[in-house]
């Protein structure tokens, strides 16, 4: 009954979204406040209906109602509650429902809260948002309905892939989708601005909070995915340049470029065309990601079940939506004002350089992901593009970008002066070079590129701090004055500092972990031990454990350093009988910011008929920073979002124009 109610609510959401398009569109055309208001109401109601539909599906999963095809295919009655809830978005159909929930949710926020937007612009944006919602809802209702019942319900479900039964992965899709779909509002605002023919500093200011929010969500989502890969896949890697990872990384790179170009448009009215182009591209890449993950054109560890028909439909949606937006852009772009001029050394130039490098990086990731498909379509030859390609192309672009990052915030708008910026950065430069040289000198084995990376990380972190010090005039006046300035610093400035600092922290962790990771593997009988760097891992015993929906072998391993036990680790191997899969549960001991990472491998026949186990131990130095860095970046985004200049713009304008 509740399932049928959910199916009804889903269709209702589609109808309401269509109503939203018509009411807002016609309302704008006739300049009728009543119709525009009704369109906004429809947007709110569509979100309400979809929230009910989503709750109905979650209910079916929680109660293990196997007469629903989607539940039977993706759940199991013995699964813990958390994973029954997260299974709601663990399948293709359920994840589309989550996508739609985010899409109508952002539409509702746009309709309900965008009070500072000009009425006409907002009406068009709400209509465009409704149009995107209608298309994806129609796809969900007609081609991927999660509420389909089975005539002959099975007694037990087929369960969710055990690799996905994990707390980080349970919350990873909601964050990722909030990020992907948050870009839809930016897209709608861009299309609305093109329709209205007005792209100026005010528009850039309206776009910024949405971009910031979506970017922060996306950052958290991608980081959670990387963290999951790190501890769940069992070989200590956290980024594989896998097509699905790339699919989430491309919108992130474009959104990062957009955040920076929108600043130029907001402060100086320059680059409006480019900013709009990025706004359209960001959501187009999000849709491309949704298509790549679901179409089966690429093989990946994260992909959903393959279905060519759905792939074609999603490709159609992508081409129609992005194609019409880019066409509109091509028509309107020549008429856009170019905005203010600026000198070669200026904040604008630095931000343009950032955009050039980020665009090249996005294109690299796009090509690396799609080129094998293109070449196979043209010549029929299959090739692979893997991590070695990205190391040779993407990494140099990022090194250049990291070199430039600290300069940007220190240069003045319009015509900057390099020497004061350079003077402010001398400590960062000196210490960065020293850090790199020290790494080259002291760390074994000697690695030139990784040492360069460490120097770069130090340059980024200290550069971000130098910029903050410059803003509060630290050491150049009385301390009280600096403290006063510190308190008065706008949140947006904090956001920049935090985001750039987070980037440095990430680079530090990534370089250190990649280059100076230690590894050892050995077959051990209980009582034997294995050396990993300074650590000694002693296998105490291995016992069978019964889990809620799996059977496991769990090892007790004691990690000793200088003969003293520092941690007790319990890595295990789980066997899920529902799907016939084996997974490895890694044990991680965090020592300061580094990880001792231990994996229990397969059992092998040992001497005298007793079993021995393959145990792998990794020492991942500073690995925690890889995940803390992006968390700091996302925090920077959120802090920037609370800037009063973004919130109070509405009130101040009303005062000015009575």
């Amino acid at each position: 009954m509740i399932t049928e109610f959910g199916a009804f609510a889903l269709i209702l959401a589609l109808v309401l979204s269509l109503a939203q398009v018509l009411l807002s569109g016609i309302g704008r055309y006739r300049r009728s406040g009543l119709l525009v208001g009704a369109g906004e109401g429809a947007a709110l109601a569509a979100f309400g209906a979809l929230a009910l539909a989503f709750a109905a599906l979650a209910h079916a999963f929680v109660t293990s109602d196997f007469s629903v095809a989607n539940v039977a295919a993706n759940s199991h009655s013995e699964k813990p509650l958390l994973y029954r809830v997260s299974a709601t978005w663990g399948s293709h159909e359920g994840s589309m429902l989550l996508w739609n929930l985010a899409l109508t949710g952002f539409g509702a926020v746009l309709a309900g809260r965008g009070r500072d937007l000009p009425r006409d612009l907002k009406a068009v944006a709400v209509a465009v948002q409704g149009l995107i919602g209608s298309v994806f809802l129609a796809y969900t209702v007609l081609a991927s309905n999660p509420f389909v019942r089975l005539v002959d319900p099975p007694v037990e479900g087929r369960s969710l892939n055990p690799l996905l039964q994990d707390p980080a992965l349970a919350v990873h899709p909601p964050f990722l989708y909030a990020g992907y779909v948050g870009m839809s509002v930016v897209f709608s605002l861009a299309v609305a601005a093109l329709v209205e023919g007005r792209i100026d500093a005010a528009w850039a200011r309206w776009v910024r909070p949405w971009t910031l929010a979506a970017w922060s969500f996306l950052t958290v989502g991608i980081t959670l995915g990387a963290f999951w890969a790190y501890y769940e896949l069992g070989w200590g890697g956290w980024w594989f340049w896998d097509p699905v990872e790339n699919a989430s990384f491309m919108p992130w790179l474009v959104a990062t470029a957009l955040l920076h170009s929108a600043v130029v448009t907001e402060k100086r009215g320059a680059l409006p065309g480019w900013t709009v182009f990025l706004a359209i591209t960001a959501f187009s890449f999000s849709m491309l990601g949704a298509f790549l993950v679901r179409s089966g054109v690429l093989t990946s560890v994260h992909a959903f079940a393959v279905d060519p028909t759905r792939g074609v439909l999603l490709l159609g949606i992508l081409l129609a939506t992005a194609g019409s937006a880019f066409t509109l852009f091509a028509i309107r772009a020549p008429g856009l004002a170019a905005g203010g001029v600026f000198a070669p050394v200026s904040r604008e130039s630095a931000l343009v350089a950032n955009n050039i490098l980020l665009s090249a990086a996005s294109l690299t990731v796009l090509l690396g992901t799609l080129f094998p498909l293109i070449r196979e379509a043209i010549s029929g030859e299959a090739i692979s593009v893997g991590a070695p390609y990205f190391n040779l192309t993407f990494t140099p672009l990022m090194v250049l970008l990291c070199l430039l990052v600290p300069f940007g915030p220190l240069l003045a708008w319009k015509r900057g002066d390099l020497s004061p910026a350079f003077r402010a950065l001398i400590p960062a430069l000196v210490l960065g070079v020293l850090a790199g040289l020290a790494a080259l000198w002291f760390l074994t084995p000697r690695k030139a590129f990784a040492s360069l990376g460490l120097g770069l990380a130090a340059w980024l972190i200290l550069g971000a701090l130098a910029e903050a010090a410059q803003r509060i005039r630290l050491f150049r006046g009385p301390l009280a004055e600096s403290l006063r300035r510190l308190r008065g610093l706008p949140r947006g400035a904090w956001g920049t500092t935090l985001a750039h600092l987070g980037l440095g922290v990430f680079v530090l962790g990534a370089c250190f972990e990649t280059a100076w990771k230690l590894e050892a593997a050995q077959t051990l009988a209980p009582g034997q031990s294995l050396r990993v760097g300074a650590w000694e891992l002693v296998l105490k015993d291995v016992r069978p454990v019964d889990g809620p929906n799996y059977e496991a072998e769990t090892a007790r391993i004691s990690a000793l350093r200088d003969g003293r036990e520092v941690c007790a680790l319990t890595p295990s191997r789980r066997f899920y009988s529902a799907g016939g899969q084996t997974t490895s549960e890694v044990a991680i001991c965090t020592v300061n910011l580094s990880h001792l990472y231990v994996v229990l491998g397969e059992r092998r026949p040992g001497p005298e008929g007793r079993g021995v186990w393959l145990v792998r131990g990794f020492w991942n130095p500073l690995a925690l920073l890889i995940f803390i860095g992006p968390a700091i970046m996302a925090l920077g985004g959120l802090v920037s979002l609370t800037d009063r200049r973004l919130r109070l713009a509405a009130g101040r304008r009303r005062e000015v124009r009575p």
Binding site: G237, F342, V352, I356, I383, G386, E519
Partner: protein
């Protein structure tokens, strides 16, 4: 020297480090490990044979190690792999005519971007100096009145860089 090589050999990814598979010569083992990362595990989903525990990856690791132990250089091993499985097996695509766009596009974007920026910088300032008389009068009025700015364009006072 040999110490550095031995340490380098210890720095590798998971599956390939199985003690049952290792080569006795640490220098050869290090070369084998570096090669594994460039070889695709054909039956896996986007993994190199360094990472995978699949049967095919185990076999390929053994075959690559055998070839290295028999004195072949990296190019010979790669050539043998491509003859056997096609270019698909290499995770690092070859630098060939067919892959030219793949390798050069990032550079092309950077060059195009720098040229566009240079063009933008060389463009003369819009003729905002030439104001009509009415505009000049309006401007002086606006400058005289404190609240005449568009608040969206006006930066807040507390941002020293604005």
């Amino acid at each position: 020297m040999s110490l550095a090589v031995a340490l380098a050999a210890a720095l590798c990814l998971a599956a390939a480090s199985d003690p049952a598979e290792r080569l006795p010569d640490p220098a050869q083992e290090a070369r084998a490990r570096a090669l594994f990362r460039e070889v695709r595990c054909m039956v896996c989903q986007n993994e190199s044979i360094a990472d995978s525990e699949a049967g095919l990856a185990v076999d390929l690791r053994r075959l690559v190690r055998e070839r290295i132990a028999s004195g072949q250089d990296d190019a010979q091993v790669r050539g043998w792999l491509v003859d056997r499985y096609g270019e698909f097996v290499l995770l690092r695509p070859s630098f060939s005519w067919a892959n030219l766009a793949l390798w050069l596009a990032p550079l092309a974007v950077v060059i195009a971007g720098v040229l566009a920026l240079a063009a933008r910088l060389r463009r003369p300032a819009p003729a905002d100096a030439a104001l009509t008389e009415a505009e000049a009068r309006r401007l002086s009025e606006l400058l005289a009145g404190a609240d005449g700015h568009d608040p969206a364009l006006k930066s807040s006072r507390d941002d020293p860089n604005a």
